[in-house]
């Protein structure tokens, strides 16, 4: 029953060193920002890397002209997170047609066995006269997180890279954080459920929520640090067939969607009038929403996937 597992920090360090090829770069034309998830690392001049200039245009630059700053050699600590990064997500409501692929991918990759998914697609309607729309909602990774403020034992914590995580080895299961979170994204492990041999044996790290899950503690969306670490996008982002999600780094002012397209964050938010959920509460979310205006999808189409009382497809009992 007890599944205390130590986080294996050593092997993770290698991951970080391999994966964290990013930073402010110097190129002949001036200061350029590396594309967050671009491949790099080779010094042969024939290779190019895609970079984004400060005004948001993408360009190809010889890899040899690029030098990497901020390559942290210090041990990666899941409590502190990546240095010099600030992760953000943009959710384009105009594109969401309730395909629910984000949800099933998240459920699958986090081995969610409970009844409540960590990402939900709400059927929203501001008022009777306005048009309804679909709103994927996950942990907002708030910069003033209500959940962190109230946690009595520092089990839920905010990292320097903006990610809010839970240390399931420390959580005492008081559920105060669930009461405090205005976005209802936190999920409790009411019982012990079987997640499969591999997961049950896995070494626990707060970096990979739910692997394995622990009875009597809280879980929620972790912004997939285990994917970021590999230089990949969070599961929901890459699973979405409609490119609803973009994920990236605020310091680099860049977000990338599931198809690999990059956008300049500040421009995107300005042009599309991006907003955050319940801004008035002062929680300062890291997830931005683009309003469902000029919609490219039909709301009704999503209704066929709408399951009011279900968000996790339970694996069939063998």
């Amino acid at each position: 029953m007890e599944k205390e597992k130590n986080s294996d920090q050593k092997s993770r360090r290698n991951f970080v060193e391999r994966g964290l090829k990013f930073g402010l770069l110097t190129a002949a034309s001036g200061a350029l920002l590396a594309k967050v998830f671009g491949k790099s690392g080779n010094t042969e001049s024939a290779e190019t890397v895609e970079l984004m200039s400060t005004d948001g245009t993408l360009m190809q630059v010889p890899a040899s002209a690029v030098s990497h700053a901020h390559e942290s050699k210090s041990a990666y600590n899941p409590r502190e997170g990546f240095s010099n990064r600030k992760f953000v997500m943009v959710v384009d409501l105009a594109k969401c047609r309730n395909a629910r692929k984000c949800q099933s991918s998240c459920n699958k990759n986090h081995y969610i066995t409970g009844e409540n998914a960590w990402i939900k697609i709400y059927k929203m309607q501001e008022s009777e006269k306005s048009a309804p729309y679909w709103q994927p909602t996950l942990c907002q990774h708030c910069d003033e997180p209500a959940c962190v403020k109230v946690c009595p034992v520092d089990a839920t914590f905010k990292r320097r890279d903006g990610i809010v995580l839970i240390d399931n080895n420390r959580c005492i299961g008081c559920r105060f954080c669930m009461a405090a979170c205005p976005y209802s994204v936190r999920v409790f492990n009411w019982s012990d459920s079987w997640q499969g041999d591999a997961v049950e044996q896995a070494a626990y790290t707060p970096d990979y929520a739910g692997v394995p899950s622990q009875k009597g503690t809280v879980d929620k969306c972790d912004f997939c640090p285990h994917m970021i670490d590999k230089g990949e996008l969070p599961h929901c982002v890459s699973a979405c067939p409609n490119d609803v999600f973009s994920f990236g780094d605020m310091y680099e002012d860049t977000v990338t969607n599931g198809s690999g397209q990059s956008f300049k964050l500040s421009k995107l938010l300005k042009d599309r009038a991006g907003y955050r959920l319940m801004e008035n509460l002062g929680t300062q979310p890291s997830v931005y929403y683009l309003p469902p205006s000029d919609r490219v999808v039909d709301f009704e189409e999503g209704m066929k996937n709408y399951t009011e009382f279900q968000s996790v497809d339970k694996p069939q009992e063998p």
Binding site: E115, N116, A117, K120, I121, Y122, K123, M124, T137, A146, K149, V150, C151, P152, V153, D154, A155, R170, C171, I172, G173, C174, R175, F176, M178, A179, A180, P182, Y183, S184, R186, V187, F188, N189, W190, S191, D192, K215, G216, T217, V218, M278, L281, T307, E308, F309, Q310, S311
Partner: protein
Amino acid sequence: MNTAYEKMINDLAPKKFGWKGNAWVAFLVVVILAGMYSYVQQLKSGLVITGMRDYALWGIYISNFVFFVAVSLVGSLITAILRLSGVHWSTPLTRIAEIIAVAAIIMAGITIIIDMGRPDRLLNLFLHGRLQSPILWDVIVITTYLVISLLLLYYPLLPDFSILKRHADHQGWLSKWYDRLSLNWSGNEKQVRIHAISLQALSIMIIPVAFAIHTVTAWLFETTYRPGWDSTNFGPYFIAGAFVAGSGAVVVVMFVLRKLYSLEDYITDDHFDKMGKVLVLLCLLYLYFNINEYLIPTYKSTKEEAMHLQSLFKGEYAVLFWTVIIGGLILPVIILLFRKGRKPLPLFLVALAVVLGAWWKRYLIVIPTLSHPFLPIEGVPQSWHHYAPTLMEWSITAATLASALLIITLLVRFLPIVPIYETAEERGLTETSQPTCS
């Protein structure tokens, strides 16, 4: 031989239980054992045995916890506030109030542990405690309150123990315990002085701590954004409600004990009358805070608040809500305004209604709010939309209530229910001198 004095000791000394007492203890033990069985199931399978789920994330464990904290406040009211304000009529009730306070605060602590998903990690609160969290404040003030309450129960008992030591001579072991617990009290001038000063100091100390425990308990809710909890009124509202619940509990216990032990000479009809007045005053105060708590949000009716209030006023919780408000607050006020209503029996019945109402009031504070989060409840099984406590949850909760009653019962068995020494002082009775009044 000083007969009045002897008679008083005889009247007030703790007595062995008869069959009624034993049956009562047996009943409580059975309830507690049933609850323990359920709790073992909870430890094995997790909180899944309760009716709580991700939306109704707190249930009757928490509302019961708030109830216990509330009841425990009466110790500070009767022993400290009344003592300091120079009110003497309440002296015979101080012991009862303090016993109730100690029982309630102990059970409050245990109840909160029962609610934890990982009680095995209780120590994390001390190893990794973070002062930003209201839960830590609660841990600190509740333990402080427990310690001061125990001392406030114990100090006035010192002279009583020394009296009982002599009185209980025929029951060897008991007398020995009284002797030990009396800490060599001889009643000399120095002891009396230190005793008086300590009691005074404790009485002063307990008041801010008492206010703190219940204010912090209110803050557990108030510090969240949720409609129904997001109120600046919660602190005083909780404290007023706590005094109501606690005074009600004192009236109930004093009525029962007076009847069982024939204490009519010590707990008189006048005491009931006065407690009735205290209760009605507190109920009016509580009513005032209730009006603030419900009327103003109703007047504004923001979308979220309106939804919450609707469910209380005419929705799902309406029957419970109005029963509690009318039966547990308004009717008691009306009845207690009349002298006849403050006679022992009617007052007892009213107090019983007040205590029951107080328990359910906590339910209404904790649960309905959770079913109205900001985002719609979606993607969870239909049964998660509404909270209904399970049988196991009820049995665990019943066991905590039974435990509180058991603590009270056992303390009543071994401690004088009415302080002997203080009563003797007030009546001018001493071991050697002649009574100055009878």
